[in-house]
């Protein structure tokens, strides 16, 4: 559905229903994260009235970790561990070397920007790979290859 909603609808998948379901699930997971934080980590609810309260910005960091794991559920495990380590390490870094922990937030932001920006190269490599794969099945007439290469290079 994420790749091509129109094709999915044509294939009979009820797009709105599954979108709602996906959102419900992700909301449920987010709620679970909050519960884990309160029950398992802090043993209480800390609110300081700020926008991120007791989550320490975990909501946004979650987005970053997911992206870093290429939006693949399995990869989000090592990605989350990495970002958890970064956050803990940030405070330690601040205590030991006087480098402000805000540096980690900056890094988070830069990671997001760069991952999202690099998608264009990945898509182009995919297109080139698919073009090559297609031509393996039938002997490629030389005329066809040039427009594909021009498109990939554009």
């Amino acid at each position: 559905m994420g790749q091509n909603p129109h094709a999915s609808r044509y294939a009979g998948i009820k797009v709105p229903r599954y979108m709602v379901l996906a959102l419900l699930l992700s909301g449920a997971f987010a709620g679970l994260a909050g519960a884990v934080q309160v029950f398992g980590v802090n043993y209480r609810m800390i609110t300081d009235g700020s926008a991120s309260g007791f989550t320490g910005g975990a909501g946004f960091n979650g987005i970053v970790a997911a992206l870093f794991g290429q939006l693949h559920p399995i990869w989000s495990i090592p990605a989350s561990i990495l970002f958890g380590a970064l956050l803990v390490g940030a405070n330690k870094m601040q205590r030991m070397t006087q480098v402000p922990s805000a540096l980690v937030t900056v890094l988070n932001g830069l990671v997001v920007i760069f991952v999202v920006s690099s998608e264009i190269w990945r898509r182009r490599r995919q297109r080139r790979r698919m073009a090559v794969a297609g031509s393996d099945e039938t002997p490629p007439p030389p005329v066809d290859k040039k427009p594909q290469q021009a498109e990939a290079g554009a």
């Binding site: 991120s52 402000p100 937030t105 932001g109 997001v112 998608e119």
Partner: protein, 310 residues
């Protein structure tokens, strides 16, 4: 105690601060409206506001010159807008996510700079109230509308200006065309890239001013994370206002007046739990959004990267 609320001085106070509080929302949301009208969703407004807020405060703090601070904030916002424009237009990045990246960058950078350059919270003399000669003497109304600082006046003047540019100029037509059907606009010779660069950088500059309005005009202080979500509310206000400057004005006023109301409620000690009071503006906004959502239509090309089909 509720009777305290209904006294004239309190009501005037609520209205006056409501008008004032809407300022950052107006700057940021009008800026975002330009971007979204051209088809670009910028969720990094909060980051731009934070960095602009710090830049304005720090420069004003060091030089004592408010206008220099404002100018720096505009520059910072414009630079972030430039980066966003490159990522969105040239690299075709997914706009919602790249916006979050810029938000985190702005948040972290403003904190980093604050911690390394300042270390402790300071206050400054912000923009003073400018009393418009005759009009500010009108009892009640004078204090509410005509005794505000320069940035507040600027925010409200921005609304008719934005309406004019979007609806009555060629540039506005190009912006709207690019937001509705970039392929058609492109085939007619309009440079989609150039229009989007313009709207995104403009949005960034206005977000910078929005941040500056917080730190050197309204609150006269800089604290880490001081925007606390206002940038995101501003983005929501664009939807709320149906992508029209007048609608954005309405939304900003509604939100800020309710916000001002709940602040005064807390100050007066009226027994509404503070958490419920803080929720009020957000809940109201959601309710109005739900009520009006079916009647509005987004720019058709919103958040879709434009790639030329050869």
């Amino acid at each position: 105690m509720i009777s305290d609320l209904l006294s004239v001085t309190v009501l005037i106070g609520i209205l006056a601060s409501g008008i004032r509080l809407a300022t950052p929302y107006l700057y940021a949301a009008i800026g975002e409206t330009f971007g979204q009208k051209s088809g670009v969703l910028n969720l990094g407004v909060e980051g731009q506001m934070l960095l602009g807020s710090f830049a304005a405060f720090y420069v004003t703090f060091k030089t004592g010159n408010l206008w220099l601070g404002l100018l720096t904030a505009m520059l910072v916002g414009a630079l972030m807008g430039l980066a966003m424009a490159y990522v969105t237009v040239n690299l075709h990045a997914q706009q919602g996510i790249s916006g979050i990246g810029f938000y985190l960058f702005g948040l972290g950078m403003s904190e980093l700079l604050f911690q390394s350059l300042m270390g402790s919270v300071e206050t400054i003399q912000g923009f003073p109230k400018v009393h418009i000669p005759v009009l500010s003497d009108i009892p009640g109304i004078g204090e509410i509308f005509f005794s505000q600082n320069v940035l507040v006046y600027g925010a409200y003047l921005l609304v008719p200006l934005a309406w004019f540019v979007l609806n009555k100029t060629t540039l506005g037509l190009k912006i709207r065309a690019v937001g509705e059907n970039p392929d058609a606009a492109d085939s007619l010779g309009v440079s989609v890239a150039r229009v989007r660069y313009f709207t995104i950088i403009l949005g960034g500059t206005l977000s910078g001013i929005a941040g500056a309005s917080l730190s050197i005009a309204l609150l006269n202080v800089f604290q880490q994370g001081m925007t606390s979500g206002q940038g995101f509310i501003a983005v929501a206000l664009v939807y709320f206002g149906a992508w029209r400057p007048v609608g954005v004005l309405g939304g900003a006023l509604l939100f800020s007046l309710v916000n001002s109301l709940q602040l005064w409620i807390q100050v007066l000690g009226i027994p509404i739990p503070s958490d419920i009071a803080v929720m009020m503006p957000y809940v109201l906004t959601i309710l109005v959004l739900v009520a009006t959502v079916s009647r509005v239509r987004a720019p058709s090309a919103l958040s879709k990267p434009f790639e030329r089909e050869d």
